[in-house]
Symmetry: D2
């Protein structure tokens, strides 16, 4: 069993936003959905409903990265956002479709299911926060998802309650614990620090923490949506 690796270094901006929302954060990263997923006891209908919504979520996430590319104030950030968007629409969505096929879910099934309110709430909140504010607001609202999934996977890998052998959700856990995804999360953590240095100051900390907290709570609702579907 691995020791827990925190994707966000202490004193990173991400770490401070997380610390300012400790209770909401714990409710998200240690949600019953996550714990059952690690233990392999999550009811299959819960996971399937989550998977379908996660596909619809990816579409909105790609739009969020398009918006991030537009709102970037350096060419490097624009390129990083463009790459993230391309990876989502060209690679991740096909992978997701294949993964779902392994669970007996065809693309038509996924597109027939309406977007759940919890998916709409989180994605539209993030996108709208991006329009209302600047690139830092947008990335702060995206961070609970991007970095949170890396933390969740690392927590599961380090948790004695996790069972990998025979766990039907093992591929999910290992994908997010894998170095590819951990690299994505690390890049997001570093970018948040750069954006904060370039655009913010102490007077903005409370507002950023509120934004991060709201996004975190909407992420926890997303897990709950999965559980409720079972």
């Amino acid at each position: 069993m691995a020791a827990f690796k925190d994707p966000a270094p202490a004193d990173s901006r991400f770490d401070r936003l997380r610390a300012a929302n400790r209770e909401a954060w714990d409710a998200y990263v240690a949600h019953a959905f996550v714990r059952q997923l690690g233990a392999g006891t999550l009811p299959e209908p819960a996971f399937k409903f989550y998977l379908i919504q996660d596909y619809l979520f990816l579409v909105q996430f790609a739009r969020a990265y398009a918006l991030a590319a537009y709102k970037s104030d350096t060419l490097d950030d624009m390129r990083q956002a463009a790459r993230s968007m391309r990876i989502i629409v060209d690679d991740e969505m096909s992978l997701h479709v294949k993964f779902c096929a392994g669970w007996g879910l065809g693309l038509e099934d996924m597109l027939r299911v309406p977007e759940a309110p919890q998916c709409m709430a989180y994605t539209r909140f993030v996108l709208e926060a991006g329009h209302a504010g600047d690139i830092l607001d947008l990335q702060a609202a995206l961070a609970p998802c991007v970095v949170g999934y890396a933390e969740i996977a690392n927590r599961l890998m380090a948790d004695p309650a996790t069972r990998l052998d025979g766990n039907p959700y093992r591929a999910w856990i290992e994908a997010y614990a894998g170095s590819d995804y951990q690299g994505v999360a690390a890049a997001a953590v570093a970018q948040l620090d750069r954006l904060y240095a370039r655009r913010a100051g102490q007077g903005r900390d409370a507002a950023l923490a509120r934004l991060f907290g709201a996004a975190t709570r909407l992420e926890a609702d997303f897990w709950q949506m999965g559980l409720d579907a079972a």
Copy 2:
């Protein structure tokens, strides 16, 4: 008892959008929350929770009218949106605060309560649809609220199950059934027709109907949120 007055004439664009979403529309305008409100049997905590969220909703609604003013393509539409926004931030919000005070809810109470996911889902969906599309998309997403409340009040006024005498929610019903609000709704219906004529064609009908339907379902969730709080 009055005969039901439909705020939207047959063959208005609004009427067609509503017809294309008949099931979702009925679930919204005849929601249990609405029926209990008309009968005077709605539990007070349900109404109070609704009232508080409706205040937070108004803030987002004012932002939606600001966005509508920005996205208007005629000076007349810009002025109409500016006036709507001004009425919300200067008049309606104070009225709401007074109304809430009558229910024992102070402004501090309202600002202490976090925005419910159902409030976030609906308002951010509308605002984001406005950014993603044009002024017609924005107004089509706002219409289930603006016009729907007028229809709901008129339905209650025409419903034999409605009890006005001694109904603690009588002021709410009469406000939305009153000529001031009915005029607001009629203006929104007429504007939707004008915007459609200026900006759309038949090829867009399905997408507008989907947008209207999604907003309608999120409005029904808002009523349900109230019921669930009781």
Copy 3:
């Protein structure tokens, strides 16, 4: 002759942005158009062309305040922006029309003239900066106009080269030197300080100065457009 009253206190954020763009600022506030306007020697066609474009400019400016209302992060800022927008579309535009009528320009004349590239450049730059960034970026891009006109009028009032008696442009100078407009400018200066404190830090100063500088140069181009029309 009055002593020059600076609408922006030393060490206000506005004062620092101005100091960081001293050369561009002086080229704007002491532009030949302005000096000739103060001396009463500006050719009438130059002023008339400016007036017409300034009407088309006001339409875009109203849109900028609509966007500012949307992007505001407090109810107070939202109300201030809504009020500014309402004043522009309900009062200033009618005043402008009346003023132009005194110069023999009918509303139809104004709406027949196409928006000049210099008007498009400045207004679309401001609006787009507002979308790309946050409310502080938007207000920093608006400030050279809002506060600059107050400074220009005060400079003219304090300038021995200014001739008020018999100056055909006297009403223009006195309107912007008047306490109403000076109050608008002072409010904009104070708001910029508040927004900076709430949203920015030192790391953002260079980018804000670049934005302010670009807007200032586009304002100088607007004066030049007037001169070139003579």
Copy 4:
């Protein structure tokens, strides 16, 4: 000498927008800058200034495609916009830098030159039109550039006054006349038809024509900016 190949089929939406702005269109595609470029007589400083501004233009253009990806209403359109953006930021900008190096212009030279007002006017007009309207407005504002360059190159290839041998600008002409770029233009023409069918109707034609016309005039100003720099 090749016969002129029109990148837009008769009765395409693009063809109608062009026909509605015939005078402005001709002033753009047959601008003196273009004719001198074809004849090889364009002063080198004019071309160099154009090249530098065109690099700064590409940055804004990449942002426009990011916005288009965000505003797309199908996954296919989103992917097409994402690909366009990626091509600009990853390939075209490096090609441009190499091309400029051949003219003795280093990347530092290009980044030291401030964005010309004509570049700002056109790019910010397009971006802002995209925010104010929908994806069709954005693509209609981009079309004079994307499709116009293909038409200009084809016109030059078919023009007896064009001299390719020994023409220092031959590479420029051949790049835009080449099948790669012609394919990009054809895709833009086809997409405009699809977007119109999905989102518009006859009532919108006049507004789209005005938008297209304004963008066309700003493109002509961009050529003039080059000539004026010589």
